[in-house]
Symmetry: C2
Subunit: 478 residues, 2 copies
Amino acid sequence: MARKAPIVVASNRGPVAFARAPDGSIEQRRGVGGLVTAVGGALRGRDAAWVAAAFTNEDREQAARGRFTFDVGGATVRVRLAALDEKLYDAYYNEFSNRILWFLHHYLWETPRAPEPGPAEGAAWDAYETVNERFAELIADEAPEGATAMPQDYHLSLVPGVLRAHRPDLRIGTFWHIPFCQPDQYRVLPDVWGAALLRGMLCADAIGFQTQRWADNFTACCREVLGATVKGKHVSIDGRSARVGVYPVGVDVDLLRSQAGQPEVEEAAKRIDALVGDRTMLLRVDRTELSKNILRGFIAYERLLERRSDLHGRIVHLALLTPSRRAIPEYQEYMRACRARADQINERFSTPDWQPLILDESDDFPATLAAYRRYDILIVNPVFDGMNLVAREGPVINERDGTLILSRNAGAAAELHPALLVNPFDADGTADAIERALGLSERERQERAHALKELAPGVPPGDWLGRQIKDVTRRRGT
Amino acid sequence: MARKAPIVVASNRGPVAFARAPDGSIEQRRGVGGLVTAVGGALRGRDAAWVAAAFTNEDREQAARGRFTFDVGGATVRVRLAALDEKLYDAYYNEFSNRILWFLHHYLWETPRAPEPGPAEGAAWDAYETVNERFAELIADEAPEGATAMPQDYHLSLVPGVLRAHRPDLRIGTFWHIPFCQPDQYRVLPDVWGAALLRGMLCADAIGFQTQRWADNFTACCREVLGATVKGKHVSIDGRSARVGVYPVGVDVDLLRSQAGQPEVEEAAKRIDALVGDRTMLLRVDRTELSKNILRGFIAYERLLERRSDLHGRIVHLALLTPSRRAIPEYQEYMRACRARADQINERFSTPDWQPLILDESDDFPATLAAYRRYDILIVNPVFDGMNLVAREGPVINERDGTLILSRNAGAAAELHPALLVNPFDADGTADAIERALGLSERERQERAHALKELAPGVPPGDWLGRQIKDVTRRRGT
C-alpha cells in the first residue's frame, strides 16, 4: 500500500474553475497557482481525486452534477466540488479563514481593540465548522479503503478530525501554507476555537509546515494550549500522535522560464525600459495585503532618498501590486495609506524628468515577469509570510545579477542565505539594506546572485507533495 | 558579606518627591506605591542607598545639593537623585520606556503599521542610554566595595551592563515588574536595541520576574535573539551567567486594612451605597491604560445586559479609573472609545431609576477602598499585565465574599486559582464569566472568597526584596 496509495487532495481553491462564456455556455478555466502544478506532478500514475469549494454560480451548477475528471499537470484527477451557498462561503472564507485565522497567524491585530469576537464571528465559526464537515464528507466519498487524504491549509484545519472519526482506515496528511504564531498570540483566539483547531489538525498522521520556525511555533501551541506531549517531531494527545514535518514549497523553474520568454513579456519589458531607462530599478511585487508591509517598504525608500541626494534621478522604485481582499475595511484603509505615502514621496522628490516611485495596481502578469528580469534590487519585506514565492521567482528569472532584500520573517529566509536579510518592522534598517545593496562590489553582487539562483527554485513542486505523501503513507496511524 | 551586604536600590521613581509649598519652600512628599513599602522592609539594619530620577524642578534643585537621608518604611536610606533635564527625561521615560518598551511587552502595537522607528525614536534610544549611564554612575558612587545593586524595571535595562564594566566588585540583581513578551514579538524592536537590552540585563547576577511565564519568555528571547545558552535557571553568554528567578510581588495587608478603615473611606462608602443601593455591584479599578482592556470589559458588560434582561435594574457596573499617560495619542483615542462605549451602554439600557454603568475618572483613593469593601464581583481583565495589584488588593479588603474575574494574562493568575479566569481577548467569554459569578451557589462563592483572601496577599512586600537580595548576595559573579 505504501508505494502508490490512492490520494485525495482537498483545498479551498481547486484545479479548475467554471465561468459563463459569452455564448451562455459554461467554460472550464484552469486554476492558476503553484499548488496545481505541485499536485499534478505527485498525482501522476495514481488513483487521484481533488475536493474543492464551488463558490461561483457556475461552480455550483457543476457541483450539482457530481464528480468529473480533469487533467492536472498530466495526471487524470477526479474533481468534486463542494457546493457552498454564497453566505456560507463568505462566512467560512472571508470572515473566519481570512479575517480571524489569517490575522492571527500574521500578527495583524491591534490587540488592545481587536479582535472583538461577537455574534458575527460566532456565525463565522459555525460556517467554518460546517464547510470543514462538508469537505470531510466529500473526501470520505472519494477515498477508497486505505487511501491518503491531503487537506491543505488553514481553511481546512478541522477536516482531519472529522475524517478520522468517520474513516479510521485513511492516512491523513495536512499542510499549512501560512506562518504559525506563538502561544501568547494564539491564545488571543476564543479558547473553544483555539483548542478545536489544534485538536483537528492533530488528528492527521502528518502535519507539514513551510519552515522549522512555524513547526516549532505549532508544537509550542500544542504543548501550552492543549497540554500535548512533544517528543522530537511527534506531538501526542488523546492516545494518538502526529508527526510534524517541514516541506518548503519551491517554484516550477521550467514553467516560469517559459512564461518569461513569451512575446507579451517582451512587450512589457519595452514599456518598463521606457519608464526606467538606465536607472537603478528597485522592485516590489506583492498582493495588496497587510502582511506584505508595503507601507514600511515605501517609508524605507523615502528614508533612502532623504539620506542620499546623490541617488535622486538615478533610481526608480517600481511597485507592482495585485489587488487582494478589497472587501475588508482594514485592507482598504491600509491601501489608502500606502497610496498616500507613495504620492507624498513623489511630491517631495520628483523632478521634471524623474518620478521616484511608480505604483502600479494593474495586476499585469507579463509586466511582473518583465520586471523580474530587469530589477537591480528586489525588496520582499513581509511582516510575516509562510514562504513568499516572489523571493524565489524573482531570482530565478532575473537577468542582471540583482540583489534580493528579504524579510527574516518570510519562510524563504531559512533557505535564501545570499539575500540581505532585514527586520521588516525596522524601516531604517530596511533603508540601510537598500544602501548596502547599492554599494555591493560587482563581485559580491554577482556571487550573491549566482548563489541565489541556485537556491531560489527550492524543492521542485512535484517532489514537494510527493515527499509528504511518502511520509504519510509510510506511517501507520496510532 | 552575605548576610547584611550594603544595598543600592535604583528605580525611575524614588521614595520621595519634592514640590513647592504655597509659601515658596520646598516640601518633601513621600512616594506612594508598593515598591517603597517593599523596599523599606528589606533595607532596615543595612547600609542602604536609593538612586532615582529627578524630574520636577524641585527634584532637580534637590539633586543639585547631592545625597540626603530619608526614612523609607523605618529604614534610613541615602537618597541620590539623577538630575535629568525635561527633554532628556521625556525622551527616556515617555518616548522610549513607556511607548517603545511598554507597548512591546504588552503586545499593544498594530504591527502592520507601528512601530515605525524614525529619527525621534533614535533620539529616544540615545536618551535611554544616557539616562541608564547616569543611573549607573550614581549607583557606583553610592555603592561601597562589594555592595549589591538592585536596579528596578524596564526603565533601567542597560544599568547592569554599564555597572558591570565599571564596578566588577558589585553584585547586581534586577527585577522586571512588567510582562516579558515572546521572541516573535520581541524581534519587532530594531535589532541593535533588542540585543543591547538583553545583553544589558544579562550582566546582572540575578534577574527577577513576577511569574514563571515572563521568565520563560525572557529566556526564550535570550536563546533566539542572542544565541545564549539556557540551562535550567541559568542563562549564559560572553563567558558570564545570570540566574533567572521568579519573585511575585505581594501587597502590604496591614497597611491596606488600616487605610480602608479611615474616616474618608467610611464617607466614600456612604456615597457608593447611595449610588448602588442593594443592587449587585460589578467593580473595575484601573489606570486608564491600553493594556487594562477597559473597552472589552465594557463590551462584556453590554453583552451581559443583552442576554439577561432579568438583570436590568439589579446590577451596577462601577468603573473607577485613574488617569494615566494622557499625553500619548493612542491613550487619548482609547479613552474616547471607552467613554463612548460607556455612554452607548447607558443610552441603551438606562431607566429613570437605573444607570447601568458609572464611569468615574476622579482618581479618589478612599472611594477605591470603599468600592473594594463593597463589590460583589471585581473584574480585572488586562490583555497582559506583569502582576496586577488590584487583583490582590480587592480580595484583601472585600467584605462581601465577592468573586474575582481575572485575566489569565495577568501575572496574578498564576497564584489566584479561586478567581474565575478569563481570556481577556474574548468579550463573550468574559460575559460568560460574569454570568457564572452571578450564578455561583452561596457556598461556592464563600469558598472561593475565603480561599482568595488567603492567597491574595502573596509574599509580604518586605520579604519580596529580601529574597532577591539573598539570592543575589549568595551568588558569586562568574
